[in-house]
Symmetry: C2
DNA sequence: CTGAAAGCGCTTACAG
DNA sequence: CTGAAAGCGCTTACAG
C-alpha cells in the first residue's frame, strides 16, 4: 500500500516520453523544444508546447545532469547563515546564481572543521557546479580534493593558506588604519583595541592595521591597551573594557574588531558616565539610532557576495586564467561615537 | 581542446564501476557497501571501503535519485533571505534538514508572484523532496499543481487561502492583544496603531488583536488613530507618526505592527522631546541597547522554522494524516518604552 | 552472500 | 528537419 503509493507518486510526474506520445513526435523532438534547439518544424514545436502545458511537464534536471554533467546548482558554506553579514552575502550570491539559472544550497558549518568537511562532501555528492566557502580556520584537505576533482571553489572573507583558489577579501588592514587614524585625528593618543583571537585571519589583519596607524602617527605602542584574546562571550569582552578604562592611564578611545565585539562593548559601556570614543569594524543595524550614533568602518557584504559569485560562474563556464584575489575597500561612516574628543 | 577538457573533468570523478574494478567485486556489492546494506562478507566490505578511499569516490546522489526518486534536498522560498527573521527561519530549517541527510536550497522571491512561480518551478525541476514557502499574497495556482504532483509543501508565517497544506503561524492576534493590553495597563487610553497594508495576512491579524484588546478594556475605537496604509518606506511611516502625535488629541502610546515599522518609527521619533509609549511587534537586535529599551512582542523564528521543517519531513517520510496548522505563542519583552505612563 | 540485467529520464552522437 | 540507439551512474528486482 505504502510502496504502491510511492511508485504511483513517482509515476505521477510526466516525462518527456509522455510528452512525446501526447504530441505524436519522438523523444528527441521534445528534447529539442525543451532545450530551445533549432531545427523543429513550427507545427511540431507547437504540438510539443501544448502537450507540455497540458501534462504539466517539468524537466527533470537531475536526469539531464546525469548525462551532461551540470547540476545547475552551487553551494555556499558559511559559519552561520543567520548572522547578518553572512546572510547578506548569501542573498547577493543567490541573486547572481539565479541570473545563471542556478540555485543555491546554503549550509552552516558552525565554524567546526568536521561539520565543514561533512558539508563539502554532501554538496559534492549533489555534484554542485561550484562551491563558495567562508572557511573555518583549520586544515582543508577535503577541499583540495574537490578542487582537484575539478569543482571550482571560491573563498570568501578569509583565504586558505596552501590552497590556490579565487578569493574575495575585505581590505582589513586599510579599514583598521582608517578607523584608528580617525581616532588619532580627533586627538586621541591612548587607543585600545579589542579584537578576536589571533588565529583568525581577519583579526590579525585588523590588528596589523592598528599597529600601522599608530606607527604612522608616531604614537607609542602600548601592549597593555591591546586585548586580542576576547573569546566570543559578552562577559570576557566586558572585562576587557574595564581593564582598558578603569585604571590610572586609561584609554580615551576604543577600536573594536568586529560587530559582535562592538555591540558587547556598548553593552558594557551602558550607563558609564564618561564614555570613551569608539569606532567599530563592520557596520550593524541601528548603529545610527543609538546615542551617540556609532561610527564604524563598514564592509560591503553585498559586493563581496556578488564578486565571489561572478568569479565562480566564470570558472564554471570554463575560465582557466590564473587565480585572483580581490580586496574590497571599506568605508568609514562617522556617526558620533568616533568624533568625541579627549 | 575545451571540449576535451570538459569530458576529462567529467570522467575525473570515479564511479561505482571504478570502485568495483579496483576492489575486484561487482557493482552491486559496491552499492551494498555504500548503502550500508547487510549481507556483504567482511573481506569484500573492506576491499570496497579501501577502494573508495583510494579513489576518493563520492556517490552521485543525482544518479541515485533518478532511480529511487528522492533528491535528499528541500527548498525554502522566502521574500528576502537576508532579512533577520527569515534568515533565522532558514538557519533553523537548515539544521533540521541536515538531521535528515538533506540539503537546503534557499531562494528569495522579493515578494513578487512571478519570481515566486519561477522559483517553484526551478525547485520542482530539481525534484526537491519538499518545499517550505513564506507565500507572497497572491494567487498560488502553480503551488497547487506541485502539491497535486505529490510534492509536500509547508507554508510558513502566512497561510494560502484555498490550498490545504500544513501551515506554521505566529499567534498574531494574541501577540497584538498582549502588546496593546500592556499599554492599557500602563494607563494609556489613546493608542495608535501603525501597521502594514491590509492585504497582508499578518497585518490583518495584528489589527484584529488591537481592536479586540481595546474592546476588552471598554475603550473607544478611534479610526483617526489607525494607520494601516504605511507603505514600506521610512518617509510615509514618519508621516503617520506625525499625524498620530502632532494634534490636539494626540496618541499617548504607539503600537507598531512589525520591526521595520518599529525602527522607522524610532527614527521619526529621534530627538522628539516628549516621546509616546511604544510597543513593537517582532523583536530586533539592539532593542535593549536603545534609550529607553524598546519593549516588544517577540516571535520565535527559530521554533517556527524547526516546527515547519519537522512537519515537512514527516510528510516526506509518508505521513498522510490530516493537514495541521500550528500557532506559535509570542512573548512580551518589557524593556522600558512600553512601561512609560501618561 | 553475490552478481548480471534492466531501467530511472534525460542528452549525445549519429544516421537518415 | 527528424528520430532510433546508446549511455550518464546509480538502484531495483531477480536469479543463483
Amino acid at each position: 500500500m505504502s510502496i504502491d503509493e510511492t511508485s504511483r507518486k513517482a509515476r505521477q510526474r510526466p516525462t518527456m516520453k509522455d510528452v512525446a506520445a501526447a504530441a505524436a513526435v519522438s523523444l528527441k523532438t521534445v528534447s529539442r523544444v525543451v532545450n530551445d534547439e533549432p531545427g523543429v518544424r513550427p507545427d511540431k514545436q507547437q504540438a510539443v508546447e501544448r502537450a507540455i502545458v497540458a501534462l504539466g511537464f517539468s524537466r527533470n534536471y537531475g536526469a539531464a545532469m546525469l548525462r551532461h554533467g551540470q547540476s545547475s546548482s552551487i553551494g555556499l558554506i558559511v559559519e552561520d547563515s543567520a548572522e547578518p553579514f553572512q546572510a547578506t552575502l548569501g542573498r547577493a550570491i543567490e541573486r547572481v546564481a539565479l541570473e545563471h539559472d542556478s540555485l543555491l544550497f546554503v549550509a552552516s558549518s558552525a565554524g567546526t572543521s568536521e561539520r565543514e568537511r561533512l558539508l563539502v562532501q554532501a554538496l559534492a555528492s549533489r555534484r554542485v557546479d561550484g562551491l563558495l566557502v567562508v572557511p573555518s580556520n583549520h586544515p582543508h584537505d577535503y577541499l583540495r580534493i574537490e578542487i582537484q576533482s575539478g569543482v571550482p571553489v571560491v573563498f570568501v572573507d578569509r583565504p586558505v593558506p596552501g590552497i590556490a583558489a579565487d578569493t574575495v577579501l575585505t581590505d582589513n588592514v586599510g579599514g583598521a588604519i582608517q578607523a584608528v587614524r580617525h581616532l588619532i585625528d580627533h586627538g586621541h593618543r591612548r587607543i585600545a583595541i579589542i579584537a578576536d583571537l589571533p588565529d583568525i585571519f581577519t583579526a590579525n589583519e585588523r590588528f596589523e592595521g592598528y599597529q600601522t596607524a599608530l606607527r604612522a602617527a608616531g604614537l607609542e605602542y602600548d601592549p597593555s591597551l591591546v586585548f586580542r584574546n576576547a573569546p566570543t562571550d559578552r562577559d570576557s569582552i566586558a572585562e576587557c573594557v574595564v581593564r582598558a578604562l578603569d585604571r590610572e592611564d586609561p584609554a580615551t578611545a576604543l577600536f573594536t574588531g568586529n560587530s559582535f565585539i562592538t555591540v558587547a562593548t556598548l553593552r558594557a559601556l551602558k550607563g558609564c558616565s564618561h564614555r570613551p570614543a569608539l569606532v567599530g569594524f563592520d557596520d550593524f543595524e541601528l548603529a545610527d539610532l543609538l546615542t551617540p550614533g556609532i561610527s564604524v568602518v563598514a564592509q560591503d557584504a553585498w559586493s563581496m557576495g556578488t564578486h565571489a559569485a561572478e568569479l565562480l560562474f566564470k570558472r564554471i563556464h570554463g575560465d582557466q586564467s590564473p587565480t585572483v584575489q580581490i580586496r574590497l575597500a571599506t568605508a568609514l561612516i562617522p556617526r558620533g561615537s568616533g568624533e568625541v574628543g579627549l
